[in-house]
């Protein structure tokens, strides 16, 4: 157990270092550009160079990186040029919003996908299976923004039941819940497409196994065979996949956030990148990667817990 933890912690640190260095290098490779950005396009060359020296940007890359690492360790993530606030605050605020969205979506995706995936896989090539297969394939094929547009055109433009944006601003007549319905629906539908097909595939494979034949020929009712023998085995691999979806839900939903103007983490990163808000982007990348690695670790741990053959 300790070995497991140590190995993964080491990997986390390694990944963080590599990624943060790459992002840092990418952004700050030309020190002049940073200062020019600060000063604006009409600044003179001398002003730019003055600022460069002032900010210490003329030092070698590695030194600046070490300096940056030191600052991060102390908790100082810098100041966001785009949002005009400390980076830490900006990230926290947006992360919280995304967290709300992610939690709601996750709570829907897991039972929905499991239900459909198991129902499809337990009787392969049945009509239900074909229907679910087509459904999940189509859902996974429609880009999130297209799903957003389709759903919005029905529920916002045509029926007028739901708001077209989810800015989380209380005014405008739409409750918080109503604002969240469409973004969550889009995420759930898109992501389920993928997760359902994974669960279905795993279930189909398990149903071919000889121990299912043993269970059936023991005279167990079909329900018992599925619930007690098949599902437990079929969910081993998908659990890891499902946990990895958390990763997607935090950063990958930038598209949905953009469609519905939701002030989330992904959108924050996009604006930071477009605006060349370096401090924000660097810190955001660190957060995203840490989250990714942590979910990876959780996935591995879950795998070990579920499969007694690995535990040994």
């Amino acid at each position: 157990m300790a070995r497991f933890a140590a190995k993964h912690c080491a990997f986390l640190l390694l990944t963080l270092s590599v990624v943060s260095f790459l992002v840092f290098a990418l952004n700050e490779f030309s020190p002049g550009a940073v200062a020019r950005k600060e000063r604006g396009a009409y600044a003179t060359q001398e002003q730019v160079e003055l600022l460069t020296r002032q900010l210490g940007l003329d030092r070698p890359l590695l030194v600046r990186y070490a300096d940056y690492v030191g600052k991060v360790a102390r908790g100082d993530l810098g100041y966001s040029a785009r949002f005009k606030a400390p980076v830490g605050d900006v990230i926290w605020k947006h992360l919280r919003n995304t967290g709300l969205l992610a939690a709601l979506a996750f709570a829907c995706i897991v039972p929905f996908s499991m239900l459909l995936g198991i129902a499809a896989g337990m009787r392969e090539s049945s009509r239900l299976d074909r229907a679910i297969l087509i459904f999940s394939t189509v859902m996974a094929s429609i880009p999130e923004f297209a799903l957003g547009v389709f759903l919005a055109s029905v529920f916002v433009v045509w029926l007028g039941w739901l708001p077209g944006t989810a800015t989380l601003v209380a005014g405008g007549g739409w409750s918080l819940g109503a604002q969240l319905v469409l973004p969550v629906a889009v995420i759930v539908l898109f992501d389920s497409g993928y997760v359902i097909s994974m669960i279905r595939a795993s279930m189909v494979e398990v149903m071919q196994r000889p121990y299912i034949r043993t269970a059936v020929l023991k005279g167990l009712p079909f329900r018992s065979v599925i619930l007690r023998h098949a599902v437990r085995n079929a969910m081993i691999t998908p659990i890891t996949v499902i946990l990895l979806q958390i990763n997607y839900l935090v950063a990958g939903v930038v598209v949905v956030e953009t469609v519905f103007a939701y002030p989330g983490f992904g959108r924050m990163m996009l604006e930071g990148a477009l605006f060349k808000d370096i401090a924000l982007v660097e810190a955001g990348a660190l957060v995203a990667v840490s989250l990714a690695v942590v979910t990876n670790i959780l996935g591995d741990a879950a795998y070990m817990l579920l499969d007694p053959r690995i535990r040994a």
Binding site: S141, P143, F150, S153, V157, N247, A251, L270, V281, A288
Partner: protein, 299 residues
Amino acid sequence: MTPTPATAEVLVVPAPVAARRRARGWWRRLTAVGDSTPATVGVAVILFWLTMAALAPVVAPYAPNATDLAALAHTTPSKAHWLGTDHLGRDLLSRILWGARPVLVIAPLAVLGATALGCLLGLAAGYKGGWIDLVVTRACDIVLSFPVIILYMIILTHFGSSAWNIIGVLTLTKAPIIARIVRGLTLDLREREYVTAAKMRGESSLYIMFVEILPNARGPLIVDMCLRTGYNIIIIGVLGFLGIGLPPPDPDWGGMVKDTYGMMMVWPHMALVPCAAISSLVVGFNLLAVGLREIGLRD
């Protein structure tokens, strides 16, 4: 442990040997696509878009960037503009047809690049093992643990988004996935006895990797390539939608949605049309992948 008789007990024997010899291998495999409904539908959709994209200069009624000021008064579908026009008066049908071209060039190229790179890495890691495996696996893990959208954002805003940059970034981010698949297949296949036989003949590692192992990884790879193409098309659309895709004014389906979805309350068709286009194309590739998987299992 004593092994069991090789031929399975009741597996149905495939079509008579003589008939097999007449039909050439690849032709038979091609026509097998017809056996599976998802595959047929998928191929039909893909062929449709390929034809449309190839013939766009001939078939499109207008130039893609030509604005028709007269139509601005009436942008919804009409006889003059079958799918209507966008907010700048440009014919949507033409823009859709022309917009298919970059997508159908970039996505497959990126997939080919990722597959080539991924195969190389996966084979080397799986077959050679040792430190090559360690380095490759860790590198793949690092790349994969990065939320790709953020990666795209960072790289494309920094280096600018041209077609080659997009292909490059897609290749780099997709190659690790393929490398993992190929590595898994290689780990399995390298234990096969024919690989040992090849070693005993003194074949070089390169020969074994590319002539003995790789051809047998074909099946899962081809299915994966279809899936990747579909997914790449989605990503290209997303990049366009986020504003970091191909630069305007050339039509880019994602970009078209970005420009027009704000006007959905008034003119929903402007955003709906490109959304439908991109969805249908991706559905085609995904259905093909589903169908190919079915066929592969049936064999």
